[in-house]
Symmetry: C2
Subunit: 358 residues, 2 copies
């Protein structure tokens, strides 16, 4: 393949700032001509301007691309009649219309980044969040009767569970980084003791696990999981879980490694992939130069690696390695940390310095 089409959506709040940062690094770090960027509008700001949060033309552009790079979307209070947020249509429609069934969220504590945990130890695991069903199957579609009863539905299918669990085991086989005790391990996070959907999730997990005898398989209830992620994060390697639980525990994981600004997110299916930081649009600090660009830069590294995995292209691999090296060096330098990770640097200062490091 000569080059890769990257659909870029800046979105709301700090979205343009962090997306811009990642673009600068991609342009400087990856051999010229490899990536081709196309910008598309979407999000709450666009909704306020046009009444449409995600134009069909933007959707088509995203669908036709090799990867989608996103800043951040959503403005609290900009909502649909049912109370859900308009700016999130972009993310949710991409997920469901493109069947991006795996949401991959690496949780890694980089040297130099402060953790709120007293003794964090080495933290380096990945949360694989089922991204196409679960409680999110009901998004914006639940029933509300006479303003008296509201209902949403949690749906799990065998197909959906099988493919996400398989994805998690394959990842455990191939990924760099391993838990403290050196064992390859996939942890199923559920609530099988109370709910049938989760008991089903666990049962299918157990079946699939049999195909991976080289990898340890274990179960942890979601409530207990929050305790372990705080008390023994080094234990974990790959965690696989239902959509809603994945949303919750991946933010908790992010908190332990420096916060939402340090947490990249990758959403993949069989075609195009969708890459962004896990954080929101942070309207309170938008335009002030305070946004932490590392999350989106880390997401763009995930993007290069995923494209390389599919197309075997050393330009992508080299670009990813170079940008990652710059990020590592940057984070170790106190003067290149933004406010949220204990520093004073502005977004631009970080980006300028990382570009020099490249």
């Amino acid at each position: 393949k000569d080059n890769y089409r990257i659909a870029v959506v800046h979105g709301d709040g700090i979205g343009p700032e962090v997306a811009g940062a990642a673009l600068s690094l991609l342009q400087a770090g990856v051999q010229a001509g490899t990536l081709q960027f196309e910008e598309y509008p979407a999000g709450a700001t666009h909704f306020l301007e046009t009444g449409d949060s995600f134009p069909a033309s933007s959707f088509e552009g995203c669908r036709a691309a090799d990867a989608i790079l996103h800043g951040a979307a959503g403005i609290p209070g900009v909502v649909h009649p049912d109370g859900t947020e308009a700016g999130l249509d972009f993310t949710l429609q991409l997920r469901f219309k493109l069947d991006l069934f795996a949401n991959v969220r690496p949780i890694k504590l980089y040297k130099g980044v402060p953790s709120p945990l007293g003794r964090p130890g080495a933290i380096d695991y990945v949360i694989v969040r089922e991204n196409s069903e679960g409680l999110y199957a009901a998004r914006g579609a639940g029933a509300l009767l006479r303003e008296e009863v509201a209902v949403d539905t949690l749906v799990q299918t065998r197909k959906g569970i099988e493919r996400i669990v398989r994805f998690a085991f394959e990842l455990a086989r191939t990924r760099n980084g391993s838990p403290k005790d050196g064992r390859r391990r996939v942890t199923c996070c559920d609530k099988a003791n109370v709910l049938r959907t989760y008991a089903f999730f666990r049962a299918v997990f157990d079946e699939v696990a049999k195909d991976y005898p080289d990898i340890e398989a274990e179960h942890v209830l979601v409530d207990a999981m929050t305790v372990h992620l705080v008390n023994k994060p080094s234990h974990f390697d790959v965690i696989v879980t239902e959509n809603m639980f994945g949303d919750i525990i991946s933010d908790l994981g992010a908190a332990t490694v420096g916060g939402m600004g340090m947490a990249p997110s990758e959403e993949v299916g069989d075609g195009v992939g969708f890459f962004q930081a896990s954080h929101g649009s942070a309207p309170d600090i938008a335009g002030k130069g305070l946004a932490n660009p590392y999350g989106t830069i880390l997401a763009s590294i995930l993007m290069l690696r995923r494209l390389d995995q599919r197309y075997r292209d050393s330009r992508l691999r080299l670009g990813a390695d170079r940008i990652e090296a710059a990020v590592r060096t940057g984070l170790e330098d106190a003067s290149l940390r933004t406010r949220d990770i204990g520093g004073h640097a502005t977004t631009d200062q970080v980006v300028d310095a990382l570009m020099k490091l490249l």
Copy 2:
């Protein structure tokens, strides 16, 4: 009222050890004749012996009592045909049959107890978990079609939301302890941006909040909540949330104040209340004398205070104050901490010492 009938259910695993500890302290700390204990069987062990996890006679005994004190229930692997745990019938049936709609979980960091957070600050908030509907409405009742699709339902009613939100605001008005900045505050934890049921929860919360202009009302999305509970726990005063979210964030809260062994739980409706530690039955350490009895002892203090609130009886109030003073002194003494909170004491050593302190 001359005396109060306390139904005691020991349950499984470490249940008998921690329930026994609480009973010893209640007997020593509360004026003789005030409390009258009656024991009833229930749980996974009882299920294995008799095929019945919660005999009707036990249920009737519990229902007729003034309060129920529980050790812990459940043995992993002892499950119903649908994969959910048999030992949990006790807890779940009490909740739903007795309409114990409010699950109150104080999260408090006691002096001497180590927190996994590097700088925990003062932690002293209460999670009010809606306990009668939400995703738990589907417990054990979801559909499973041809081993291909599993469905559970999240149901929220206006009545259910109103009463739990009102409960939270009333608690914020009256409770001891207040957040760092001294403001009385109720935080609604939901996922209103994506799901209609939670948007409804939030809308009803906003309505009820208008009746409490003296108390600050705020919203935090559940994913962001996990970050805040780690990064700024001192901010919180009272948090109110849906059943499943309450299950998850209350364990996270417990983790920050020393773990599940330090987290009491109170479940109340209009009649009898149900008191236990938030932890499970920990079969791995059962019978070894390693169980942390503080959680159940703290739960018994909640019990005395709730009964006193209803019946205004100084014997209960005095008993609660005395036992709490012993707990505080005990926790400050390194030799009276169990293994899970950084010490070496056995359950019996803690109980003996606290009895002497009384």
